[in-house]
Subunit: 338 residues, 2 copies
Amino acid sequence: MAISLKDVARQAGVSVKTVSNVVNGYRHVTPETRLKVQRVIDELGYRPNLTARHLRKGRTGMIALAVPELHNPYFAELADAVIEYAAGLDYIVLLDHTGGRRDQEVLFAQGFRARVIDGLILSPIELENEDLLARGGDAPLVLLGEREYDAPYDHVAIDNVAAARTAASHLVDIGRRRIAFIGARHGRARATAHLRLRGWREVMTENGLPTGEELVAVTDGYTREDGAQAVARLLDSGARPDAVFCYNDLIAVGAMRTLAERGLRVPDDVAVIGFDDIEESRYGATTLTTIAPHKRAVARAATDALLERLAGDREIDPRRLQPGFALVTRESTVGRPS
Amino acid sequence: MAISLKDVARQAGVSVKTVSNVVNGYRHVTPETRLKVQRVIDELGYRPNLTARHLRKGRTGMIALAVPELHNPYFAELADAVIEYAAGLDYIVLLDHTGGRRDQEVLFAQGFRARVIDGLILSPIELENEDLLARGGDAPLVLLGEREYDAPYDHVAIDNVAAARTAASHLVDIGRRRIAFIGARHGRARATAHLRLRGWREVMTENGLPTGEELVAVTDGYTREDGAQAVARLLDSGARPDAVFCYNDLIAVGAMRTLAERGLRVPDDVAVIGFDDIEESRYGATTLTTIAPHKRAVARAATDALLERLAGDREIDPRRLQPGFALVTRESTVGRPS
DNA sequence: CTTGCTCTTTACAACGTGGAAAACCTGACG
DNA sequence: CGTCAGGTTTTCCACGTTGTAAAGAGCAAG
């Protein structure tokens, strides 16, 4: 089978521990011994058994990241960033997806999906506060985006209300008055959708603009299809928005699709704004104005927070980390420069 | 620290092995003993240490999957499918990305990126045949899509020439004559881009249509931006295609973006076809006609092949697996039904 | 009351590694 | 020439688990 320290030791005529010392760069090894052992290592192609090392050390060097859906580009791009950043810190990232289902999120948070890991980063959708309080797992957990909780865990998310205010203000600034809101419904008052809705409502109210029910379309999920259907319902119900504020870019893409089918021009007839700044938003017949969370900063904050817990600071108070965001204006609100 | 078998054994007044037997559902345990032990397990919240189990068994129950880019939706969707399918077989998938860089691909194939795994699935871009022949790793490897190799590894990919022929034929069928090809350049004759180019050329020639250099635009990569630039170059050079055959959907999306900027209508002036059937292709102002590889079948074939090797059939001849594909016609070639 | 059988439980060893501490070597010094 | 200090190498053990083999318990048959 695989070559172990024992095989190298026998071949080199030294003890197992000496080989281990060479492998780990222990100082007190004579150059001759080191050379001799190293030669055998190369010759046999020895590679340390990480499983054994992990068992011995009690650490695996792996962290798990769970997002709702990998095929949501925002999460794919975010996962990319986490993997990249963690790799620089010699951590391997085990990527998982929960489908946004509560049972899967609980399983993940408990450490039942990926079990050979030192810590967890979870981007929850349906997870409840009580799930967190009842959490049995032993590995540190960091929460990402979406919901807000009272449980004692570090939480990384942009300031959703402020970001939504920025987006809504932009629409007002370009002269829109009847601004619809399209977003995922979650009963809980502290879901992200609700935070963004609040930002929208605040700005609308401050500007004396309508926020009636007829301007709000809820969706089941966060997909292009959800966005397409929501706008269709909105238009069918007789609402005549001159702008739509979308919960995220995917919904915005779907919304623009329906607008195109209905013969409405973007942004001339209806301006559209999204959230996430996924790559897709920079292409398409009409590029999409959006709120761009600094994904690298999110990835860094979450990973750093987790690794700090791992380093032993488990007792410090849970923190609330807010990476920055930026408004990126594109054609869907300001039109194409001619 | 964490609860181990030893703790449970002490508390329950039985041997460590008996607890192990209960945990593993060993048959010959009296109901009373089982109950007693199970109670202590629940009470203490014991959970098996998988690292130790892995060390003992020599298997980790994890496989690694490396794709070029996670934020390429095709790969994200494919990864989704692999994770899903493998989970059903009680395997955890460790997801990684290589950036399409040869050094990273080699590192991955050698098992140096993810090292606590039983097997590997790699979707290579730049990897060379010699890299595979010189491969030192011990874990079984399955190759996915893209390139073709002579090395003794299972390989899963659709029939790219046939698929490309299907796509090109479709363009011919709808009456297009000057069909451009936009695709990533790879010097090697057996790169996927070359296979698709061949399919295009065959169909063109068979129909007496031009295949001159002026109709072929090479790109550095596979992104929307690459597609956008390629079409710009094509148009600037004076070519007047009435259709473009794109290496993949991302390139097609970029291509359509440039066409829109130039005031060309799709499909009226220029028809567009892609490859991959990413979700994005079903939205956008103009939906995209594409070749849809059966992603679930790809995921299944690759995972099954790998697990068969793991099960011991390491000596059987390397196989060439070809999941199916389908032409999905949408607006970018046949227009919008009125 | 022994023998032999089955069912249940146990002791032991090992997977590959690294920490702790003991053992070994060499050379300097009294 | 013995002692000690220093670096170097080794021995021993434990991490938590499970396979192997063997011991123990119970019971029916002789």
